[in-house]
Amino acid sequence: MHNPLRSEADAFRWAVIIGGGAVSVIVLTLLTRPVVGVIWAAALIGFGVGVAYRGARGSLPRDVALTRGGDGKYRLLVVANETVGGGALLDRIRDSCRGRESEILVVTPALASSRAAHWASDVDEAIELARQRMELSLIAIGELGLKAKGEIGDSDPNMAIEDALRVFAADEILISTHPPERSRWLEHGVVDRAREQIDLPIGHVVVDLAADRAVS
């Protein structure tokens, strides 16, 4: 969702629309009876609320500010939650960092259990779960002989990436998700949106935790 009223031009557009609706109510009332005008006004208000809601859906395109490193070190930003310790992700991290002096930041968004929990900031449990997963993944990355640090991110993965890019001069971003049929991030277009907004190479790693468990 975004605010549909962001500038004077938006306010003017709404003023014209509301003015037009009011003229129709006035004309109808003067031609018939006030109760007809009231019913028409109620219908217009309902329609207007619906239009406003539809117009407010989705995110606005935006630019993400980047911090650039200048020391020749390869910096990899890894964004993952439940799949943060997945085998495919670890393989991809190892391949990306092979033969280079690397620095890795693992960002694990704290996913609230429900929309209500998100709005009520009831995310303590989500943060704790994210921290546990992140720490396990840092150990696994360390076992690959790579240096990594971790952070708990915003529950919106795109916002978590944006926050991380403000302090971490990433050269590449890896987003790890479940397979398409089970991934809420893919359903919400997290990877596509990141590619639209961020001018960095963005890799997408699919981690099938069930297959990982079967192998182990």
Partner: protein, 208 residues
């Protein structure tokens, strides 16, 4: 570590030293966000007055509204509504002009908006003088003057804001860049709000 801020959509070669700009999670400038939050609070204020109005109209005086023998000057208020509505177009013209770098258009739009707003207020005060009832006459009089007076006070505040914007415009302030004409943008948003509220007040109180 050497670092530089690069905003996408701009040349990456133009790197500058220093930390990135502070993040604005609202993704809006502070002034615009401030006026929008203020307008939200104003909508609640008007909502309280409208709740009183409908309570009085539906529950207290269900048989006839306005109560006999009072009458409202629908035609005069209609002309006044047209005047105020047209001022939304002039303030929009002012802002469209400055976005194109047309300072003359900005000044013309602001002065016209101010004059139309002042005319609206003058006609409303004149209407009060000739109505034939006061705020003491029944609950009807109280809510009529309360609602229209509340709106009139907002028009007055809008005129004060437009006065400041006009003075600044004549002193050569404001430019085409978005950040350079917030001093007109913010009063403009407020003025459209005042306009929309009057459309609702007029339709509700005078017509329905």
């Amino acid at each position: 570590m050497e670092s530089a801020t690069v905003a996408l959509g701009h040349a990456h070669g133009e790197e500058q030293h220093g930390p990135p700009e502070a993040n604005q999670s609202s993704r809006m400038d502070r002034q615009t966000l401030g006026i929008l939050l203020f307008i939200v609070s104003e909508v609640m204020l008007f909502g309280a007055f409208f709740a009183s109005y409908f309570f009085l109209r539906v529950v207290v005086h269900p048989s006839s509204w306005p109560p006999h023998p009072y009458e409202l000057p629908v035609a005069v208020a209609g002309v006044n509504t047209a005047i105020l509505v047209s001022s939304s177009f002039t303030i929009h013209y002012a802002l469209s002009s400055i976005r194109r770098g047309n300072r003359t258009g900005l000044k013309l739009g602001l002065v016209l908006t101010w004059l139309l707003g002042a005319t609206f207020l003058f006609i409303q005060i004149n209407e009060y003088v000739h109505l034939g009832f006061s705020a003491r006459d029944l609950a009807f009089g109280s809510i009529f003057y309360g609602l229209t007076g509340l709106h009139g006070a907002h028009v007055f505040v809008g005129l004060v804001l437009l006065s400041f914007a006009s003075i600044r415009a004549f002193r050569g302030h404001f430019g085409p860049e978005e950040k350079d004409h917030l001093g007109v943008e913010v009063p403009g948003i407020y003025w459209h709000f005042v306009d929309v509220m009057w459309i609702i007040v007029y339709t509700t109180v005078y017509i329905l």
